[in-house]
Symmetry: C2
Subunit: 229 residues, 2 copies
């Protein structure tokens, strides 16, 4: 089917203003732009050509370095999760009483989420796809989660000194905090529209931040008996 396509445009000998060769830079740029575009439009919605156009390189490089759209998306996902892992490693609640520490942790988690909406969007997108991609990223399998470990540590201290109830585990706590923080970003458009509260409004942040702290603190400090006797 090889039609004409005889001479490929560029007059031989013309000096190409070729970019400096730098594989790492090229890969990093593709990854960054791809992160933006996938977070913006979703996996199906994202266009490989658009990603390429927004970089200083070409679509060819996506196939050269990442194998294709799917490989690029996998790389984007992994990179994003490595980012939050790194951030979690920086969490510091030393010197606080257990309940205060867990309140602090909730508030810091809130901060991270509102500051990284594109990460939350990638997580949402991945869930729309039922986690089919993340499941295939070996690097994310069974890697200890810094935040969960920190929660575990706080809960232990609190149980020992009697300030925290015994029937909540680290996953419960992490799930509760994540639910709220993710929702703030992931569902802001429908919730904001239907209930008239713009969760993206910066002036609301102190209120929303304090809320998750209050909720978590009130919950974990609650004694087992729910009704006073």
């Amino acid at each position: 089917m090889t039609t004409g396509k005889t001479t490929t445009s560029r007059p031989s000998g013309s000096s190409r203003p070729e970019r400096q060769r730098d594989p790492e830079r090229t890969k990093a740029e593709l990854l960054q732009i791809a992160t933006e575009v996938f977070a913006q439009d979703g996996y199906s919605g994202a266009r490989v050509d658009e990603i390429a156009e927004r970089t200083s390189t070409t679509k060819r490089m996506i196939y050269y370095y990442f194998g294709g759209k799917e490989g690029l998306y996998l790389a984007v996902l992994e990179n994003a999760y490595q980012g939050i892992r790194a951030a979690e490693q920086g969490l510091d609640v030393t010197g606080l009483e257990p309940v205060a520490a867990i309140r602090r942790l909730a508030e810091l988690t809130y901060d991270y989420h509102v500051e990284h909406p594109e990460f939350i969007r990638l997580v949402s997108i991945e869930n729309i796809h039922r986690g089919e991609f993340i499941r295939r990223i070996d690097a994310l399998r069974s890697i200890a989660n810094p935040a969960a470990a920190l929660i575990d540590n706080i809960l232990s201290r609190g149980r020992d000194d009697g300030s925290i109830r015994h029937d909540v585990d680290r996953i419960d706590v992490h799930m509760m905090i994540s639910s709220y923080c993710v929702f703030q970003v992931a569902n802001q458009h429908t919730f904001g529209h239907l209930f008239g509260r713009d969760m993206g409004d910066e002036s609301m942040r102190p209120h929303h931040r304090a809320m998750i702290g209050d909720v978590i603190a009130a919950w974990v400090a609650t004694p087992l008996v729910t009704a006073p006797r």
Copy 2:
């Protein structure tokens, strides 16, 4: 460019085994299948041809009744939201003390969410699109939300009898409950994978259901002073 295409196949006179004519049924079937497919694959991921193939009618009808893919998606969204509105109208917490009532409401909300995952998926999808479609559905604009009204009612009673704190409003409460319930469904794939807890596991439901009840009850019943003096 009108090429051949002279006689269009079917021999004239052949009796077509045509389906019973029933516009309402045709529209309803399209809407239902479209809901499944959009919830399954997202807006960009959904294929008009696939929707058509899974019905007993044809793609032509999508364009005839809904104008196109977008119109069909708008109809699906509106229909789904009308569904949850109707469900909320059936919520009943009469005869309960304010704190018990709000705990009950949280648990009933949890039940609805886990029983309607496809609705949650549509909400997630709509948020990926930044609410651009829902904003255009006039029927969903400023319609009173039954659940929010109910919360308002409970909070009033609780404030009057002193059992509920004064500094949380109905939107705060609704947001907190929704966060948790939506997360249970919307983020089950990534969370389950990364933390080893399958939120879809039915045996976990009583635990997860009780959790949001406990959290909300502990929170709204907390007195304003956070530290004892």
